[in-house]
Symmetry: C2
Subunit: 166 residues, 2 copies
């Protein structure tokens, strides 16, 4: 099997007005929860937003989140810090990446907006989405039907590959 | 496009004696470096190990790494903590997940062995692979030709999905 579907994931920040189907949103969440997690603890939670008013508030809550005001959906990828204090960040990052790859495979577009460990971003999103204090907010993903095209690409760099030892 | 390839990624810990081709190793690294990174800083480095003696030393260096002694290859996913102090963990986690998905798509098997933030694991691997002190070690990935089969699956759980707000 080709792995081109991994190279097809690009950061897409401009969208058409079209909505995302329930079926696609469900697939995206199935992909999210197909990620591995440390000790199989699955610390993740997902807040799915499709309401325009809340999307607009999220756009204001994140310094690079302007596109959320026009997005069809946002997913906040969160992690229960009690369930997995040492690994929730890594588990939720893997889950975020799964979402991004699924989105691209479905013909949609998305961008990963970093939240944790920036307290200002986390606090602002926590307030908009009513997320409990002991739940970390790893990322906010903006999703829509792409109004920009980007070619698949790797960023392969031989200098980052060390053979047998550093 | 179906997203089954994401569900096909499972933790594979038993391998045949067959090697992995150079071509497949290259594809795996291309997938690794196709991940997104915060501010496009690409803090990642990859140590690729195929030598049996070093694989055996890695097996001893990680408490859950026994399978490395029989693996065809290991990849240590590392991050330059100076380049991206706040986000190298997330960037390297996304890169690790890309490797795992690529491995599955290529018909190979792999498992993610967590390292950071466990100091004992990081110190032991750092010594075996001669990794500089200011480079974090996010994960060690054991890769081989699968000697066990696992069915694709999501771990979808409705209770982890919050609509519009927590």
């Amino acid at each position: 099997m080709s792995i081109d579907f991994i190279m097809a994931r690009r950061s897409i920040r401009r969208y058409t007005d079209d909505p995302i189907s329930r079926d696609d949103l469900r697939k995206i969440l199935e992909a999210a929860m197909a990620a591995p997690s440390s000790r199989d603890r699955k610390p993740w939670h997902f807040v799915v937003v499709t309401g325009r008013e809340i999307l607009k508030r999220l756009a204001d809550a994140h310094p690079h989140g302007k596109m959320l005001a026009e997005a069809a959906a946002a997913v906040a990828v969160c992690g229960d810090t009690n369930t997995s204090p040492d690994y929730w960040v890594q588990d939720c990052s893997a889950s975020t990446e799964n979402i991004l790859i699924a989105v691209a495979a479905l013909g949609l577009g998305a961008v990963w907006l970093g939240c944790h460990p920036r307290k200002d971003r986390v606090d602002a999103i926590r307030e908009v989405l009513n997320i409990p204090e002991d739940v970390g907010i790893l990322s906010l993903i903006s999703i829509g039907n792409p109004a920009e095209q980007k070619d698949p690409r790797t960023q392969y760099d031989e200098e980052r590959v060390h053979q047998q030892s550093w």
